[in-house]
């Protein structure tokens, strides 16, 4: 009962702020709506007994990725109000495709009979997840580590001032 109330409340928050992203014409408002979606999804993770994942979602996604996006907005918006209204034909085509896809997906999902539902939520603690990560999932874990290193170097390289701006100072 309480689970249902919590789910519908959180689903309303997540879906509402995702729809806010769709209709917003201001990039700052879009980022704000994304914050609502990310927080709602983190709480949904808590509801599904994935506690560690919810915490990580809050810290890394809402705390880190969103900050990076907001920095990007600040660095790339010259005027305060950058309009991002799509062309009418584009908006119409996108709406038709997305509504069609959503209708198809929902029909499919509702009609499918999913086998063997687990009624009890199984909560895994952090120690268990850590053991799994360093034994069964060791290879993807290491690959992600290398990827993060590559991303760090690549982002620093891409974002440095270009050669033309720097040369006169060095000579």
């Amino acid at each position: 009962m309480y689970e249902a109330i919590a789910f519908y409340l959180l689903a309303a928050v997540v879906a509402g702020s995702a729809f806010g992203c769709v209709i917003a014409t201001n990039i700052v408002r879009m980022a704000l709506c994304l914050l609502g979606t990310l927080g709602g999804v983190a709480l949904l993770y808590f509801l599904m007994a994935a506690n560690f994942l919810g915490v990580v979602q809050l810290i890394v996604y809402a705390g880190g990725t969103l900050i990076v996006i907001v920095f990007g907005v600040m660095l790339t918006s010259r005027a305060a109000g950058v309009r991002l209204r799509p062309k009418r034909s584009e908006a119409l085509a996108g709406t038709l495709i997305c509504i069609g896809l959503l209708a198809g997906l929902v029909t499919l999902l509702v009609r499918t009979a999913w086998p063997a539902a687990q009624s009890e939520a199984q909560a895994y603690d952090v120690a268990w997840l850590g053991n799994e990560l360093l034994s069964t999932y060791l290879v993807p874990f290491e690959m992600v580590s290398v990827l993060l290193l590559a991303v760090m170097i690549g982002a620093a390289f891409l974002a440095q001032p270009s050669g033309k701006d720097k040369e006169p100072e060095e000579r």
């Binding site: 689903a11 769709v22 990039i27 660095l75 790339t76 997305c98 997906l105 999913w114 891409l158």
Partner: protein, 103 residues
């Protein structure tokens, strides 16, 4: 209606996915497209965790969702670096402005 099951989560994720798809397809700001990609990745995360909670009962889905969060952070960092360069080069953030293939 009161018993929350797998289908509820999957339908919510489908809605989130479609919103992200629309945002990616129509927004005129490259950062907006990145925000759409984040919505799609979140939909995938909800799906994975819901399947692990209601179907398998194993932690596979949670670990896959963990990797998704890491990859999304990496993707955002690289994308923002590219957008800053793009803005410096073209003076705008409209993705349609960068259609020149000659350097």
């Amino acid at each position: 209606m009161l018993a929350i099951g797998l289908t509820h989560y999957l339908v919510l994720a489908a809605f989130l996915f479609c919103c992200g798809l629309y945002v990616m397809a129509t927004k005129r700001n490259a950062v907006g497209i990145l925000i759409g990609a984040e919505l799609v990745l979140n939909a995938a995360g909800i799906n994975l965790v819901a399947f692990s909670r209601y179907e398998t009962g194993l932690a596979d889905g949670q670990i896959a969702a963990l990797f998704i969060i890491v990859l999304a952070a990496a993707e955002a960092a690289i994308a923002i670096a590219i957008f800053v360069n793009y803005y410096r080069l073209l003076g705008t953030i409209d993705p349609d402005a960068g259609d020149r293939l000659r350097g």
